[in-house]
């Protein structure tokens, strides 16, 4: 068995990635550091794969950085172990348990005759002396980063029981001087690509459930208009450009339509619209502000923000019968609801005094836990495994992104040199 992991009161782990930065990296590329955390960590030794030094991307460096950044692993230095094991049968477990490792990862990188490379790896339980996983991939060297993330996902899942999200992508908005950019990057901040540039504000990016498109709001035509853009082709389409303001897009789980906020009939109200912009259908009629819709994972209900009770609070609309139920009661400002992927609760932003913080509420118990301590924390976005929440944090100055685990213990800070970053959106698990 893996020993019960140890407790770290103040884990300060700078996750510097051992990668030469590609010269095409945009200025708004993120670097991620863990700024505090604790809770439990699994001590794991990741032995550099045999042959990986012949390639510019060190696979085990990426795998180790992924795992360390999650805050749930402690990397055990494999230096000095000689010879370095590359296969499961080469591992002498005593060597690793003596170093405090509960798990060991070994592997190899072998060139193939067609220019591709075979990557093999084994995950071993050093305490129980068994193999937990073993896979081999034949990939082009250009696929090393995705392959490393995939291996990190397998290790994470085997050792924590939850799906890994290292292979996912994130989207965010960067403001550099007068310019706004919508970027998409790997979950570790690398390979950031600019997909939209505008001289007017961009906001509210949301991923389609299949990860192929992003809907967002742009003010480039002097009013909020919702667009849907394909990531594969870069082509975009107007989703909603009605009289008044068009904003707050939210995809239905099947990707066929979105909930949006329109003011075309007076007031900010919720509507459904097909993903091609057709078939607008009003969801409700109220004299209040109704906005920030977010679908439940089963598609049967929607959380939204409304001031129908006198202050902005979160409500749930059941689509089958139109019933509306208030979900937040404490405080005078609770906004921006997003469901957890298991459908058992939601995160949101609450104002307490003059501060805005990300909180989490459980549907069954209605218990609320405040997760962040910033001055202005906003726009939460939940990782597809429900374990991390990405959000924007500002203190009146330059905005940064930050992440907090859903139990509040692991905290990360994501910064982009020389730009103001906000509006993060975590993409879905790859197919």
């Amino acid at each position: 068995m893996i020993r019960p992991p140890r407790f770290f009161a103040t884990l300060v782990w700078v996750a510097a990635l051992a990668l030469a930065l590609a010269s095409t990296a945009p200025r708004a590329q993120l670097t991620i550091e863990i700024i505090g955390g604790g809770g439990t960590t699994v001590p794991i030794a990741i032995v550099p794969f045999a042959g990986e030094a012949n390639y510019p991307y060190p696979l085990t460096g990426i795998i180790g950085a992924d795992l360390a950044r999650s805050g749930l692993f402690k990397l055990i230095d494999p230096a000095g172990v000689n010879p370095r094991p590359a296969r499961a049968e080469d591992v002498r477990f005593g060597e690793w348990t003596a170093r405090g490792a509960d798990a060991v990862v070994v592997g190899s990188v072998t060139p193939q005759s067609d220019g591709r490379v075979e990557v093999r790896f084994f995950l071993l339980d050093a305490v129980k002396q068994t193999q937990l996983a073993g896979f081999s991939y034949v990939v082009a060297p250009s696929q090393f980063r995705p392959t490393a993330h995939k291996i990190a996902d397998i290790i994470y899942e085997k050792l924590t029981g939850d799906a890994g999200v290292f292979s996912t992508r994130i989207a965010y908005i960067a403001k550099q001087g007068p310019r706004y950019e919508l970027l998409v990057a790997e979950a570790d901040g690398y390979n950031a690509q600019v997909i939209v540039t505008s001289n007017e504000p961009l906001l509210s990016p949301v991923w389609s459930p299949d990860g192929m498109r992003i809907a967002y709001v742009s003010l480039e035509n002097k009013k909020p208009i919702i667009y849907v853009q394909s990531l594969a082709t870069g082509q975009r389409q107007v989703l909603a450009n009605f009289r008044g303001s068009n904003s707050a897009p939210a995809w239905a789980p099947d990707g066929s339509r979105l909930a949006v906020t329109l003011s075309r009939d007076g007031g900010s109200q919720l509507y459904l619209i097909n993903a091609d912009g057709s078939g607008v259908q009003r969801l409700m009629s109220s004299a209040a502000i109704d906005t920030e819709a977010n679908f439940a994972p089963d598609g049967k209900s929607i959380l939204f923000t409304s001031d129908r009770g006198g202050s902005p609070q979160i409500y749930r609309l059941t689509l089958g019968n139109g019933a509306v139920e208030r979900m937040t009661f404490e405080g005078s400002y609770n906004v921006s609801p997003r469901h957890l992927p298991d459908g058992k609760g939601f995160v949101f932003v609450r104002r307490d005094g003059g501060r805005f913080n990300v909180a989490i509420e459980d549907f069954a118990t209605r218990q609320v836990q405040v997760l962040t301590q910033g001055t202005i924390d906003e726009s939460p976005s939940v990782a597809p495994n429900g374990k991390l929440i990405l959000y924007a944090s500002g203190n009146g100055g330059r905005g940064i992104l930050a992440a907090v685990s859903s139990d509040g213990r692991v905290k990360q800070r994501l910064t982009a040199a020389a730009s103001d970053v906000r509006e993060p959106a975590w993409g879905p698990l790859p197919k």
Partner: protein, 190 residues
Amino acid sequence: MHQPSHRNFRFMLWAGFAIAALLAGCQTTQTSDKAPVEERTPSTGATTPGAGTAGTTGSAVTGSATGTQGNPLRDPRNVLSKRSVYFDYDSYAVKDEFKPLIEAHAKYLQTTRTARMTIQGNADERGSREYNIALGQRRAETVKRMMLLYGATDTQIETVSFGKEKPKNPGHDEGAWAENRRDDVVYAGE
């Protein structure tokens, strides 16, 4: 063994950014690069050509009122040159001091039936971006409703919101916030 020091990493980042800055032009998918204000020349096409601006409706620029002379909207002595209505925090109630301004614009619309305006609602930086879009929208609609009571017609006024996205004052104190909780009246063609 496999991780460079944090300082080195920062250096590499900066070096990367420097190169990226040089290459920026070729790597971005430019879908909109409009200069926001430079549309004074009376060309008939309203939108600057540029990829990705298809599908725009509304606010077509009608060629009128080119000079300032004799234009009541530009005459600094005329109340019509005043264009901003300010609000309290989290509020959309119109204060008495702004009623003459709103009435004057409504009367102008009533007597100038071809005139069209957009009321742009804004919010201060506190709170959710999307909720602030809705709050700015309501501020704009509140002023529009008053103008309709004073004689303007519905088709003359579009209400939109910039939320907290386009602050007039970039500061982070009450003085700045008070300036940013605002409706701006913009006539078509301006």
